[in-house]
Amino acid sequence: MIQFSHVSKIYPNGTVALKDVTLEIQQGEFVAIIGLSGAGKSTLIKLINKMTDVTEGSLIVNKSDVRRLQGAELRRFRRRIGIVFQSFNLINRTSVINNVLAARVADMNFFSTLLGLYSRDDKLLALESLDNVGILEKAYSRADQLSGGQQQRVALARTLAQKPSIILADEPVASLDPITANQIMKDFKRINVDHNITVIANMHHVDMALKYANRVIGINKGEIVFDGPSSQVNEDLLKKIYGREITDEDIMFKKTLGE
């Protein structure tokens, strides 16, 4: 469970990225966060695994007080939280399976890490994760030779190899074409349902958010302006979240929707 209460985030340069955020996310939810660019979506996600620090308020994730975590304790906490980035963040010049196995080094000793000695169990887990996202046969290819969609699947498999309870995703499909984006979102959905893993995804495109998430959180200028089931989202609400009319740009499937 994730509990924000009265959380604010002010960056060192004075930018107020989040203002008095209070929300609760239960285990197994699929939450989409929508809002304009600069609204504070990425900041909200980064707070959860402490890639950036809370300025005010309290944040409890999996019963840990995130503000207090540091050092070894923080690293242990992070092992159960996967994160997927818009730009995939894979290791270039390295095989797909080694990219996935990289998620296991947190649990390994320094010597094995140095020599890249992964256990049989870890390798099987990595392959299983790849199978889970449908690219098992690419295990021994080089990661940077895959297509964008395949690379994002590798990134997703990497988080799965962490055996996470939460997966955070920062605009995971924003740099993909609509068809591929749809497939990746289906992967997220399946993982969410099959393994009861909480998924929190920042979405640039409204239609994708509504299609896959059970719950939508709308942010405008650092404040939560909507929090409810996807079914309740309508034109008026979107106008409130975006502070303007919805345009083609906000919808990924604009063209294909007309079919």
């Binding site: 399976i97 049989r120 390798k123 099987l124 392959l127 299983e128 199978d131 098992l136 046969e137 295990a139 021994y140």
Partner: protein, 272 residues
């Protein structure tokens, strides 16, 4: 566990054996090299000398270091001569390298000639700098002119090798277009290639200039000019403060040249 996963697991590349063999091979070579190392013996004297040298570096012979006149030993003038040797040598080498490079570039003369050319370049590179120095001294007598000629010939190898790489990287489209117009080989070089190459060539020469100035600091050892003779003579006579003055001269000049050269080079190569 799904059979497909186990099957994939069995297909994993076995690198452990190969890596272990490579590692052991490397270790054996290095241990064997180490075993045969010999040295004069690190005695107490060595430690004293080390301290004396460090002391001298903190307090070098300032009379030499800041003497800007031609009377007596002047580190600035010796370094100026060293830089001059490096500079003129680089220009000589950069020009002499041109024919070698064009006659060794695969995309211009074809594979057979290219191999011949590359072999000639390798032969020239084999001549150690001191051998060339002594050979030129038989022509000019001792002094910096021998140094210039030495540096010039000694840099042909690396410069032409880098030139060749640049030439082989040029945009083939232009050459094809010139072929279509029935251009001669000379015209192909003059109008299709040279414009693409100039900046990269100059950049290469400047890169080699840095190395050449460093090399020019040791030519004095065989009498081919520069600061090297002063340095080695001072070391040989245990005059640490004098040697330290020469070392500081080298440090300052080489550092300044490296800074300037890096600036110019990166501007040049990316300026197009």
């Amino acid at each position: 566990m799904k059979p497909a996963i186990l099957e994939m697991y069995d297909k994993r590349p076995r690198t452990l054996v190969r890596n272990t063999i490579l590692f052991v091979l490397m270790a054996v070579i290095l241990v064997w090299s180490w075993e045969t190392m010999d040295y004069g013996g690190i005695n107490e004297n060595g430690a004293v000398v080390a301290r004396n040298i460090l002391d001298a570096l903190i307090r070098p012979n300032e009379a030499w270091l800041f003497n800007f006149t031609a009377t007596g030993t002047s580190i600035p003038l010796l370094m100026l001569e060293t830089v001059a040797i490096g500079f003129l040598g680089t220009i000589l080498g950069a020009i002499l390298a041109l024919p070698f490079a064009f006659l060794s570039a695969r995309n211009i003369v074809g594979p057979v000639m290219s191999n011949v050319g590359n072999t000639i370049i390798s032969i020239i590179r084999t001549f150690p700098i001191f051998i060339l120095g002594l050979m030129f001294i038989r022509v000019t007598g001792p002094g910096p002119l021998a140094g210039v000629l030495t540096i010039g010939i000694a840099s042909i190898g690396m410069i032409s090798k880098l030139y060749v790489e640049i030439i082989e990287d040029i945009d083939k489209g232009i050459l094809l277009a010139l072929d279509a117009t029935g251009a001669t080989r000379f015209q192909k070089i003059r109008y299709g290639i040279i414009p693409q190459l100039t900046a990269n060539f100059i950049s290469t020469a400047i890169y080699r200039f840095e190395i050449n100035v460093r090399n020019a600091t040791i030519l004095g050892l065989v009498g081919a000019g520069g600061i090297g003779f002063t340095l080695i003579a001072a070391l040989g006579a245990y005059r640490w403060k004098d040697a330290a003055a020469a070392l500081w001269g080298i440090i300052v000049v080489v550092l300044v040249i490296e800074i300037i050269s890096t600036k110019i080079r990166s501007k040049l190569v990316s300026g197009e």
